[in-house]
C-alpha cells in the first residue's frame, strides 16, 4: 500500500502548520501547501491548521475564506476527501460554509490556553474510529474565539454531527461543543489541537489516534 499524503494549508498568519506537518508525519506523508494553490487533487487528506490567518482581523477566518485555495477545499469536500480544520482552521470552515454555525469570543473575553478533557461523542467517523464512545481524551486548547454558536433549530439538526464535547466548558460554546462534522461526515472542525497531544513529553498522546485514523482512510 502506498503511503497516504496530507496537505497542510498555510495561510498568511497560520502558525500551527509546522506542528501539524510534524504530527501527521508520524502516520503519513505531509506537505505544507501555500494558500495560493489552486488544486489539492494530489492529496488524500487536508488539514487547515491553527493560527491567526490574516491576523484574525474583523472575525477569525473571515478573510482567509477568500484565499484561492478555498475553492480546492470545497471541491475536495465534495469528493469526500477527509478535511480537518483545527482551531483557526475550524473558524475558516465555518466562515466558508462547509460547517454550520459561527464562532464568537470566549465568554471570558480572554484568550485561553489550557489542557482540556474532551468527551468523544461519535466514533463512527473516519476521524474518530480509533476512540471509544464516550471516552475522555486530553487535548489542549488555545484560542480567543472558540465560543461555538448556532441557533436552536440548527443545534437540533446537527446533534448527530457533534463529535467532541468539552467536559468543562472553557469558552461558552453551546451544548459544550468542541468539534463537529458536516452531514456527509468527511469535514471535521475542532477547536482543540490534536497535534499538540502526540508525545509523552507534551503531556498527552491522545491526538495520535486521530492522525493514524486519517492515514488509514
Amino acid at each position: 500500500m502506498t503511503r497516504k499524503r496530507a496537505a497542510v494549508v498555510s495561510f498568511p498568519g497560520s502558525n500551527c502548520d509546522e506542528d501539524c506537518v510534524r504530527a501527521l508525519r508520524t502516520a503519513m506523508d505531509a506537505d505544507r501547501v501555500w494558500h495560493t494553490a489552486r488544486s489539492l487533487d494530489a492529496y488524500d487528506a487536508i488539514v487547515l491548521p491553527g493560527g491567526f490567518s490574516y491576523g484574525d482581523y474583523l472575525r477569525a477566518g473571515a478573510i482567509a475564506r477568500f484565499s484561492p485555495v478555498i475553492e480546492a477545499v470545497h471541491a475536495a469536500a465534495e469528493r469526500g476527501v477527509p478535511i480537518i480544520g483545527i482551531c483557526n482552521g475550524f473558524q475558516i470552515l465555518l466562515e466558508c460554509g462547509l460547517l454550520p454555525g459561527t464562532m464568537r469570543k470566549n465568554v471570558s473575553r480572554k484568550f485561553v490556553c489550557a489542557p482540556t478533557t474532551l468527551v468523544v461523542a461519535r466514533t463512527d467517523t473516519v476521524f474518530t474510529k480509533a476512540y471509544d464512545r464516550l471516552e475522555r481524551i486530553r487535548i489542549p486548547i488555545a484560542h480567543g474565539e472558540g465560543n461555538y454558536y448556532c441557533d436552536e433549530e440548527t443545534l437540533r439538526r446537527i446533534q448527530h454531527q457533534i463529535v467532541f464535547r468539552y467536559e468543562d466548558n472553557p469558552n461558552g460554546s453551546v451544548d459544550n461543543i468542541a468539534g463537529i462534522v458536516n452531514a456527509a461526515g468527511n469535514v471535521l472542525g475542532m477547536m482543540p489541537h490534536p497535534e499538540r497531544a502526540v508525545d509523552r513529553w507534551l503531556g498527552s498522546t491522545d491526538g495520535v489516534r486521530l492522525m493514524v485514523a486519517l492515514a488509514a482512510v
Binding site: L58, G101, T102, R104, K105, V107, R109, N147, C150, G172
Partner: protein, 88 residues
C-alpha cells in the same frame, strides 16, 4: 464622487451578546446605573467612490454581505455621507 460609509455591525436581536453583557456589568460596576442594555459590535468606516448615493449604498451593502458582517449572527446598518470635493 467620494463617500464615507459608517457601518454598524451588531449581533442580531435574538442572539445572545456575551460581550455586551460584560460591558454592561462593567458600566454598572462604575456606577452608571442608568444603563439598561448594551450591545457590542464592529464599526467599519469605508471611504469609496461612486457616481451617486444609490450606487454607493449598493456597493457598501455588497461589502457587508460578502465580508464585513457574518450573516449567521450579525446585522448591519449603513449611514452614507458625501465627502466634499476639496477634502478628497
Amino acid at each position: 464622487m467620494l463617500w464615507t460609509a459608517h457601518i454598524r455591525v451588531s449581533v442580531k436581536q435574538n442572539v445572545l451578546d456575551p460581550e455586551g453583557q460584560a460591558v454592561q456589568r462593567a458600566l454598572h460596576m462604575l456606577h452608571f446605573d442608568s444603563v439598561t442594555s448594551v450591545r457590542v459590535g464592529t464599526y467599519v468606516c469605508v471611504q469609496c467612490t461612486a457616481n451617486d448615493e444609490a450606487e454607493a449604498m449598493q456597493r457598501v451593502s455588497q461589502m457587508c454581505d460578502t465580508l464585513l458582517a457574518n450573516p449567521v449572527t450579525e446585522q448591519y446598518a449603513i449611514q452614507l455621507e458625501r465627502v466634499e470635493a476639496h477634502d478628497a
